[in-house]
């Protein structure tokens, strides 16, 4: 994951996890391009696993679910865990700040 672009974004003040969360990925099943943030905002809305460390991502177009590790820019189970914990914390805080129960 730590290639030149991630280093450049880190120097710009955006962590590896942030960059991986906003980078787009092409669904291998239907070709729809989306980021992990987009997936968690729409496809994962209402799912209680989205704030409990879910290691998966769901395509909002074809509804196929696959592991975060299968996204081209995330490599290995350890990075998958880092990213899933990061995005779960972001989503949980986002909903809490809005006054909503996070898994709704």
């Amino acid at each position: 994951m730590a290639n030149g672009f991630y280093e450049a974004m880190k120097r710009s003040g955006f962590s590896y996890e942030t960059t991986a969360s906003v980078k787009k990925y092409k669904c291998p099943y239907c070709g729809f391009e989306f980021s992990l943030v987009y997936a968690r905002t729409f496809a994962c809305q209402g799912c209680s696993e989205a704030i409990k460390g879910c290691p998966k991502v769901r395509c909002d177009k074809c509804d196929t679910e696959f592991f975060i590790e299968e996204m081209g820019h995330v490599h290995g189970k350890e990075q998958q865990r880092q990213i899933s914990d990061h995005i779960c914390n972001i989503v949980s805080a986002y909903h809490t700040d809005m006054g909503r129960t996070p898994n709704r």
Partner: protein, 362 residues
């Protein structure tokens, strides 16, 4: 090393695609140049003292003789002055570690701060300092975050992206405020004496935002700021270290004069210098890049000399093939790391290599 043209003559010729004695060269060395001041200046001091900020560029010019000076401080200046907490280590680039947007209502609370105080003032005063000292010798440019970048620093990128999908009107309201802030900074830079203003439009990146999203959340604001830049007597310049930059928008539609970019060879969609020139982006714009900034820390002098030499040959070949004279500046893809372990001799190696090998004869 005596040369046929002065830096200014060469720079002005390149901006008009006129023949030059050699390619422009200017690694993006900013904070690292504090180490040339000679009195053990820390990064934290450099980022808060306009005199030290200005002096570092003067020392950089005297030591390396680049063709340009770009006054980048860091990318948390605006967010910090808006109220975000910025972690200021002694010798590292500062970054935001506490955002100020926690719900949609917080976007409405954003107000343009007084640019005569905070680090905005340091940046403007410091830029004026080096511009006044160097503007007769080299092309001097100011540097400021674009509105979407500044907002993402203040809100956190993930939250901002989520709000772009769920609360776009709140985001647009905040972007109006950011644009007003940027407009004031632009007018401030116009009074410093710089010839150009570099906008960091970092989110113009196909790996994060598509055309529709980028057009909605940045282009209309950038158009306003680009026009204001010209109205204030400065050239529009852009820096974007994206891996898949929105080149058509940011080079051609913005009518940019100088475009600084990076190249990531592991990403097949990241455009190389050859591709950028072949696709016409250097026809009316000086493209700048794309040496890996990490080489300035990790590479030996021999290694970075070879990289600079290979890039110079690549650019000369591509420019000749396209029928261009001079519209490329050999530079780093992003800021030369300001770390204490950055090898200062590598900056000299890049500049000297281009001075020796950068003559263009098609």
């Amino acid at each position: 090393m005596s040369e046929a043209m002065t830096h200014i003559e060469r720079g002005m010729a390149a901006l008009s695609n006129e023949p030059v004695d050699r390619l422009l060269v200017s690694p993006l060395s900013m904070g690292v140049q504090r180490r040339l001041i000679g009195s053990g200046v820390t990064y934290r001091e450099w980022a808060h003292d306009p005199k030290l900020f200005a002096q570092s560029f003067v020392e950089g010019y005297k030591t390396y003789g680049p063709d340009m000076a770009v006054g980048l401080m860091d990318l948390s200046v605006m967010a910090g002055d808006l109220g975000a907490h910025v972690r200021m280590d002694l010798e590292n680039t500062p970054f935001v570690d506490e955002h100020i947007i926690h719900n949609p209502e917080d976007y409405e609370k954003l107000e343009v701060p007084d640019i005569r105080s905070g680090r905005s003032a340091v940046l403007l005063e410091g830029t004026k300092g080096f511009a006044q000292a160097l503007k007769d010798d080299i092309i001097c440019a100011g540097f400021v975050e674009g509105p979407l970048l500044a907002l993402s620093q203040s809100a956190g990128a993930e939250r901002l992206f989520m709000d772009m999908y769920t609360n776009p009107s709140a985001v647009h309201g905040a972007l109006e405020v950011m644009t007003d802030y940027d407009a004031q900074m632009c007018e401030g830079f116009g009074k410093t004496g710089v010839a150009g203003l570099v906008w960091d439009y970092l989110w113009g990146n196909y790996s994060c935002l598509g055309d529709a999203e980028y057009h909605e959340f940045e282009v209309k604001y950038a158009n306003k700021l680009n026009k204001l830049t010209l109205d204030n007597g400065m050239a529009v310049c852009v820096h974007n270290c994206a891996d898949m930059p929105h080149l058509k928008t940011q080079v051609k539609d913005y009518k940019t004069s100088i475009y600084s970019m990076a190249w990531y060879p592991l990403n097949p969609d990241s455009p190389s210098a050859t591709k950028v020139i072949e696709e016409g982006y250097a026809d009316k714009c000086v493209m700048a890049g794309n040496i890996d900034p990490q080489l300035f820390i990790r590479g030996s002098v021999e290694k970075i000399t070879k990289v600079a030499s290979d890039l110079t040959k690549e650019v000369k070949t591509a420019l000749c093939k396209r029928g261009l004279n001079s519209t490329f500046c050999i530079s780093s893809g992003c800021e030369v790391p300001p770390d204490l372990t950055t090898k200062l001799e590598n900056i000299r190696a890049v500049v000297d290599t281009v001075k020796k090998e950068g003559n263009l004869a098609c």
